[in-house]
């Protein structure tokens, strides 16, 4: 009788833990022990097929076979049915890589996601890990910067600023100390690609930041992670310890004599700290209040020193660019949006999860072909793309290619690639009010349009949607006049705010008003729609 242990994968991603992955793993181990079966349990990252979590995979001679969604109660029955041989079962989806949702993707950044044990240096190295860093160590800094410039990579946090230009500015700045800071304050609802990266492939982020440090001559770095992501903080912290012990971080990176020290810093629940200058204030130990720009952080950033600030996915895209060359990455995508985007399908969607595709895919393909329509089975009414500060996109725009410029042309944003689906029960006036309320709660308070405008915005929307009543005392609110007031207020916020918090809150508000006027009690489409 064979005694070679059978390898089974049970994810450790927090989306799996939240549906009982630990209980599945414990039950699996207990059941196998009881049956005298040798088991090698690997706690991998998530494949990003969240409706199938907990997704259990078994290594078989024909590749990894997937079962899901598995609960602890299913384990004994699955073992009886031959789970460990990859046998058929109602929960079996066949070879994982052939599940259409995965097979149709173009996973560059997320190639290792869910495949490896996130904290295994051996796993990471076996699947192209550190190849980018090794290439970068053999290059002068300006060649690294040129590679990133040539790849066409733009900031994945939402602003889409060319990463290479930012790096070039920091590289050219003269200072005794420079910093590399990763903005992992992923506060946008509907986004989780940063979280998945930190929990599921942390060495990729470490490698990308180390390459940035080599490119610009920085020796210290910070990852600023949300306090709402305790698992990400723990995994990143452990990954830094392991990378340092193995010589990928520290005073003498892989014997090159170059040094880079990385520290994980926990944020404290302020959404506005996702704005880069507020984040710098927070890292310096202050209230996260937005700074006026200029000076740019690339010139005067953390502790007044030149600082590269990028999002998790921007840094995480860099190792592959260095390993395979700029042209490889640039060949994906459309127009000026090059490469791939890890898109996050969220909200009221049947098959929510992580879809990495080249730019150019449409919302309809994402929501229908990948997402399978709404989770409730009702018609989809609105889709918010790009987080709480992104526009609601109506059905007439679902065939636009996902591309920074194409979205900007219709007053929408790609942002960090989060897509939140709402079915036809959504009240768009309520969601617009929520956007203003959220801004009021989270405003740092430095500039007036954001601090005061958000509260006034809540009040105006309340007056617009108030039911007409002839019996009340006092004058009836004039709805068209209030709508005009809301538009004026949005105009002030858009043009007068210091950062995107106040400056983009009008995006969801105006798009809701323009595309769903009936929800505001307006009978006909507002002709003044901008």
């Amino acid at each position: 009788m064979s005694t070679a242990p059978i390898t089974v994968y049970v994810p450790r991603d927090s989306a799996a833990l939240a549906v009982g992955a630990d209980e599945v793993a414990d039950t699996l181990q207990a059941e196998c022990a009881r049956r005298g079966i040798a088991l090698k349990l690997v706690r991998n990252g998530s494949r990003g097929l969240f409706w199938l979590e907990t997704l259990v995979e078994v290594a078989t001679p024909r590749g990894r076979v997937a079962y899901g969604p598995v609960s602890a109660d299913d384990v004994a029955g699955l073992l009886d049915a031959g789970l460990l041989n990859g046998a058929p079962h109602p929960l079996c989806h066949g070879p994982t890589e052939q599940i259409p949702y995965l097979a149709k993707q173009e996973r560059l950044c997320f190639a290792r996601m869910g495949v490896t044990d996130p904290l295994s240096l051996a796993d990471y190295e076996r699947l192209e890990g550190w190849a980018g860093l090794r290439a970068a160590l053999a290059m002068p800094g300006d060649t690294i910067v040129q590679q990133v410039l040539d790849s066409g990579l733009r900031g994945r946090g939402g602003a889409a600023f060319p990463t290479g230009i930012k790096w070039k500015t920091v590289a050219g700045a003269q200072a005794a100390q420079k910093y590399v800071v990763c903005n992992a304050d992923e506060g946008d609802s509907g986004t989780f690609s940063d979280r998945m990266t930190m929990e599921g492939d942390p060495f990729m982020l470490i490698e990308g930041m180390t390459i940035a440090a080599l490119a610009v001559g920085a020796t210290r770095g910070y990852v600023y992670v949300r306090s709402e992501y305790p698992d990400a903080v723990a995994t990143m912290s452990e990954a830094v310890v392991r990378a340092q012990a193995a010589g990928f971080l520290g005073d003498d990176i892989l014997g090159s004599g170059r040094s880079f020290h990385l520290e994980i810093r926990k944020a404290a629940g302020a959404y506005v700290c996702g704005e880069e200058t507020a984040m710098l204030e927070s890292l310096e130990g202050k209230r996260g209040i937005v700074r006026a720009k200029p000076p740019l952080p690339a010139i005067e950033g953390l502790f007044g020193k030149p600082t590269v600030i990028n999002n998790v996915i921007s840094f995480a895209s860099v190792p592959l660019i260095l390993a395979r060359g700029a042209a490889f990455y640039r060949d994906y995508g459309v127009g000026r949006s090059r490469g791939t985007l890890p898109i996050q399908l969220a909200g009221n969607i049947k098959h929510g999860g992580l879809v990495e595709k080249a730019f150019g895919i449409t919302l309809r393909e994402l929501m229908i072909d990948f997402g399978g329509g709404s989770a409730s089975g009702r018609p989809i009414k609105a889709v918010q793309v790009g987080g709480p500060l992104g526009a609601y996109v109506p059905e007439s725009q679902w065939d636009l290619p996902l591309d920074y410029e194409a979205y900007a042309a219709v007053g929408a944003v790609v942002g960090h690639g989060g897509i939140v689906v709402h079915d036809d029960t959504a009240d768009m006036a309520k969601l617009a009010r929520y956007a203003m309320e959220f801004c009021a709660i989270e405003s740092c308070g430095k500039c007036t349009p954001c601090r005061i405008g958000s509260t006034r915005g809540v009040e105006v929307i309340d007056r617009i949607v108030a039911p007409p009543s002839s019996t009340r005392n006092g004058p009836q609110h004039n709805r068209p006049q209030q709508v005009q007031l809301l538009r004026d207020l949005c105009d002030t916020m858009l043009n007068g705010s210091l950062c995107a918090m106040g400056g983009m809150t009008p995006y969801p508000v105006l798009s809701a008003l323009n595309h769903y006027p009936q929800d505001f009690g307006l009978a006909t489409p507002d002709r003044e729609a901008a």
Binding site: E186, R226, A268, G288, Q344
Partner: protein, 169 residues
């Protein structure tokens, strides 16, 4: 050698804890947030009486430290209830019924949170905090109960989770 009870008392005294944290971290650049995190992790909140101590060690004014503690939603100056429950109120969770779940949670726990603020039940058993995104947006609605994440939470499931806590008490 102090009696075990005295040693335990010294180790959990807010000022003693804060002193240990400060000794370890006060020299780091931008140390205030890490220090506040460690104090809150150890004590459950950042008591007002340790604010001057922290200010002194970092050469800041008390107002500056107080300003930071009160600016960030994560830090609290008052001890929370015995159990801390967070319910996500952001858009993705709203699309799957989070508003109704939050209403349900308020009624079930006897907490009346509003805006971005939390609330503790009169008997001190529960603190309910709204939270804006837990990164489980494809498995909405999401809640955290005493640090443990739960996804796809219906009101019935919520009652089961809370019932378990009450049964264990």
């Amino acid at each position: 050698m102090p009696a075990p009870s005295a040693a335990a008392n010294a180790a959990t005294h807010p000022e003693a804890i804060t002193r240990m944290v400060l000794a370890r971290r006060a020299q780091e650049p931008g140390a205030l947030l890490p220090i506040l995190h460690e104090v809150q992790d150890a004590l459950g909140h950042v008591p007002r009486e340790v604010v001057p101590q922290i200010a002194d060690a970092l050469n800041l004014s008390r107002a500056e430290v107080h300003g930071v503690v009160t600016y960030y939603h994560h830090f609290r100056s008052e001890a929370p209830g015995q159990h801390v429950v967070q319910v996500c109120r952001a858009e993705a969770c709203q699309s799957m019924g989070a508003d109704a779940l939050f209403e349900h949670a308020q009624a079930r726990l006897g907490c009346h949170a509003h805006g971005g603020h939390g609330s503790t039940s009169a008997d001190g058993a529960f603190t309910l905090n709204p939270v804006f995104c837990l990164g489980l947006c494809a498995s909405s609605p999401a809640v955290v109960v005493d640090g443990k994440l739960h996804a796809r939470v219906t009101p019935q499931r919520f009652d089961q989770l809370i019932g378990k806590l009450e049964a264990a008490a």
